[in-house]
């Protein structure tokens, strides 16, 4: 059966590839024309080939509560999402601005706390954030950079307007799928890559390695960089291993590391060896049982002492979680104005803060029109999508909000933009978001072109998380500008 592109209808949604039924956007015209020229069933065959390739490569993620076995292939759709060069330019500028402000905020929070003292952000918001780590007060990371690697989630509404949904400043995942998806796309559709000018993505590991090497104490001729993983049962283990491999550095677990003679060292077959930079993919709480959770076996006892003395660098620095708390998020535009003296290029989604009485009342009265999120959860857990919830669920959330208002925010339900997606031999619109990756090196901020496009494969669903049945698409940022 051939895919009937002429039947595809963007309906009442913002579609990333079509402006109206039968009318591809300028940036997508070449792709759609080429796909229309494929033989019947060719698109499906390509999808199967791609899926088998990912299975063979072992590009998987783990699901904790899945009885079927712990690993799954991340579902992959072969119709890409396209971002024009103009659009990308705006996003890139907006993201750089945002990361810069967030970093100044982190530096301020664990230092002078000027923005609090000047009354721009209430003290209690920051002090009650679970990501605010008292042991980090007074720390001075190299070049005053706290957050070296960020994954910021963006969405577009019905009008095509971009919004920042959240900033992931702790250990954002997904870049490995961006690179592996592209690898599979290039081998599946080599022809289209020769005709369209698509920005390449393969150099991410080089940029990441440079960012990490920059963190090492300056006098070291050949610093040792490692990636610290919680181990093979972590849901993002594939990525940890992939990044270590692509950078050619060691992938270590907590049990491989030990603090001896005031330095962080790893246990090798030839004895102990010093480690200078750790790209840690372990959450703050688990980094050092002496300072944070005493029951943690994932980290290294004494690590924070070594870090404080500047004898090892950590990326990201511990404590960054305070800036991706969903309540603190509401104040990012304020941070941009305060620290940079600029107007935000990218907008926040309007956000109701349940700890404020007025907002809380509005939220409680309008639950079915809102998305409620716990301030400190991710992966699509701890949230309520009002429009698709039952009365019982809403009542339950209302209780939770009243019991712990600080822990909840609410946002209007945005109608996310859609991209044509291959569903049972035909193309149907499915909602997507976008997570670009940003590397902060102090003197320079690098935004990786594109990012991870996650797609809600279930019809009508707005939830794109892999743990909730989401898949992904390749994201093409075009090189040339249209007039």
């Amino acid at each position: 059966m051939a895919v009937q592109w002429d039947l595809y209808n963007p309906e009442d949604f913002y579609d990333e590839l079509f402006s109206a039924k039968g009318q591809p956007r300028q940036s997508a015209a070449a792709l759609i024309k080429w796909m229309q020229g494929l033989r019947p069933d060719e698109l499906q065959q390509h999808r199967e080939t791609a899926q088998i390739a990912l299975l063979k490569l072992g590009v998987t993620f783990s699901v904790y509560s899945d009885n079927q076995g712990i690993e799954r292939v991340f579902p992959f759709d072969i119709i890409p999402r396209i971002i024009s060069a103009q659009e990308w330019q705006t996003l890139e500028g907006g993201l750089k601005q945002r990361i810069q402000a967030l970093n100044l905020f982190l530096n301020d929070m664990y230092g002078e706390q000027r923005i609090l003292n000047d009354g721009k952000i209430p003290h209690e918001v920051v002090f009650s954030a679970t990501g605010f780590l008292k042991p980090c007060i007074g720390l001075k990371p190299p070049s005053d950079v706290w957050c070296h690697i960020t994954g910021t989630d963006l969405v577009r509404d019905r009008e095509g307007q971009w919004y920042v949904l959240e900033d992931n400043l702790r250990v954002p995942s997904g870049i490995s799928y961006v690179l592996e998806n592209r690898r599979v796309m290039k081998s599946t559709f080599p022809a289209i890559f020769q005709t369209l000018a698509i920005q390449p993505v393969d150099d991410y590991p080089s940029h990441l390695l440079e960012t990490l090497l920059n963190l090492a104490p300056p006098q070291l001729p050949d610093p040792t960089v490692v990636v610290l993983t919680p181990g093979i049962y972590n849901s993002a283990y594939f990525e940890h291993s992939f990044l270590a491999q692509q950078m050619g550095v060691e992938l270590v677990e907590g049990r491989d590391l030990v603090v001896v003679d005031g330095y962080l060292q790893m246990r090798t077959t030839q004895g102990l060896r010093r480690v200078d930079v750790v790209y840690r993919r372990v959450d703050d709480d688990f980094l050092d049982p002496h300072v944070f959770r005493p029951d943690s076996l994932l980290g290294v006892p004494g690590l924070m002492d070594v870090y404080r003395q500047g004898r090892v660098a950590l990326a990201n620095a511990p404590g960054t979680g305070v800036a991706d708390d969903k309540v603190v998020y509401a104040y990012v535009p304020e941070m941009i104005r305060y620290y940079l003296g600029e107007e935000p290029i990218l907008s926040n989604v309007p956000t109701y803060l349940c700890w404020q009485e007025k907002d809380r009342n509005h939220v409680l009265n309008n639950l079915e029109k809102l998305v409620v999120k716990a301030a400190n959860e991710s992966g699509g857990y701890g949230m309520l999508v009002g429009s698709s919830s039952t009365e019982v669920e809403r009542a339950e959330f209302a209780e939770r909000i009243k019991a712990n208002p600080r822990n909840y925010i609410a946002q209007p339900i945005l109608c996310l933009s859609r991209v044509p997606t291959l569903i049972d031999h035909q193309v149907e619109g499915r909602h997507v978001d976008l997570r670009p990756y940003i590397l902060h090196r102090g003197d320079d901020i690098y935004v990786h072109p594109g990012g991870l496009t996650r797609v809600a494969l279930r019809k009508g669903s707005l939830v794109v998380n892999s743990s909730q049945g989401g898949g992904s698409k390749d994201t093409w940022v075009l090189n040339h500008f249209h007039e």
């Binding site: 299975l55 063979k56 093979i232 291993s241 491999q245 491989d256 790893m266 090798t268």
Partner: protein
């Protein structure tokens, strides 16, 4: 290299080699059973005995029928040394060191595992010989890919150690199958059936043609000598251990003939013992007893390697 990584590469290779050798066991028995005269009871229990896991088997299965034994050795996910289980372990080890081994190696292990898993779900008993061949080939492919795509560095040598020690151990067990098969019927020694069984055994060790070229006539002494003492045949115990010794000395840079840790000492002693042994010595003290002793000593070498390089001691 991280101790944990060295350990994982070592075990990755041991498990792949183990899978291959279980396939060989099953194959040797299938082949010799096919040539049994009518009326002779099929003997599958010897296979279980040579694994060293007879108690586990009896507790779970009771009678050693061909179906029981084959299922136990191939697809029993509760038996840690079945082909399915060792592949799962191999894959897990490979997954934990993906960033160190080559992508090709990882893909090979991953596909090997998927193939075995699929076969286990299909219940492929009817196509068992074919399955055994697939397993052996996949193991060779893995070894070939590793040899051709991974730098021959420390990690590679740990892999070699794992593979060669496992192979030496399994060669002793393949030889032992013959001993146990023959045990109840000493009057068959020297009969055509005896010949056929030795041939089946050589074939299962992929040694038949190579044996013919070097020894011509098939005799118990000849076969045992070939599989234990031959210095050129890659599955003979002596060959495996001598190669393993080379890898061990590459890791430590200690000259051969000397030692700086208990692993080198244990392996060095074993190699020189084999170097000066004759097959007559072996038969004088009993082949089965000799093989048994070999298994114990190879095991000790493995333990010493793990203690010397991989033990993650709390500091």
């Amino acid at each position: 290299m991280l101790s944990r990584v060295a350990d994982s590469i070592y075990w990755l290779n041991r498990y792949i080699e183990r899978a291959e050798n279980i396939a060989r066991f099953v194959d040797v028995n299938l082949n010799s059973m096919l040539d049994m005269p009518p009326g002779v009871t099929q003997q599958w229990e010897p296979l279980v005995i040579t694994t060293g896991d007879r108690d586990v088997f009896q507790e779970r299965y009771g009678e050693a029928t061909s179906d029981n034994v084959i299922h136990f050795l191939t697809f029993d996910s509760n038996y840690p040394n079945s082909i399915l289980s060792v592949l799962q372990l191999a894959r897990e080890n490979a997954r934990s060191v993906r960033e160190v081994i080559s992508s090709e190696m990882w893909e090979e292990v991953n596909q090997f595992f998927l193939m075995v898993k699929e076969a286990s779900q299909a219940g492929a008993l009817g196509t068992l010989p074919d399955f055994c061949t697939q397993v052996k080939l996949a193991s060779h492919r893995f070894a070939g890919v590793m040899d051709a795509t991974m730098t021959h560095n420390e990690g590679w040598h740990f892999g070699q150690l794992g593979r060669l020690l496992e192979r030496a151990d399994k060669t002793t067990r393949i030889l032992d199958v013959k001993y146990f098969v023959l045990l109840p019927s000493v009057q068959w020694v020297g009969t055509p059936l005896d010949q056929i069984q030795w041939m089946a055994l050589l074939k299962s060790a992929s040694a038949y043609e190579m044996y013919r070229k070097s020894q011509h006539r098939i005799t118990p002494n000849g076969v045992a000598e070939f599989l234990i003492l031959n210095r050129q045949f890659p599955r003979s115990i002596h060959f495996c251990l001598a190669q393993a010794e080379q890898s061990l000395h590459q890791i430590t840079s200690t000259p051969r003939g000397t030692w700086c840790n208990p692993a080198e000492r244990a392996l060095g002693r074993l190699c020189s013992q084999l170097g000066y042994l004759t097959i007559e010595d072996v038969f004088e003290n009993g082949l089965h007893e000799f093989l048994n002793q070999m298994q114990i000593e190879i095991n000790q070498v493995g333990n010493q390697i793990s203690k010397t390089f991989c033990a993650v001691e709390p500091v």
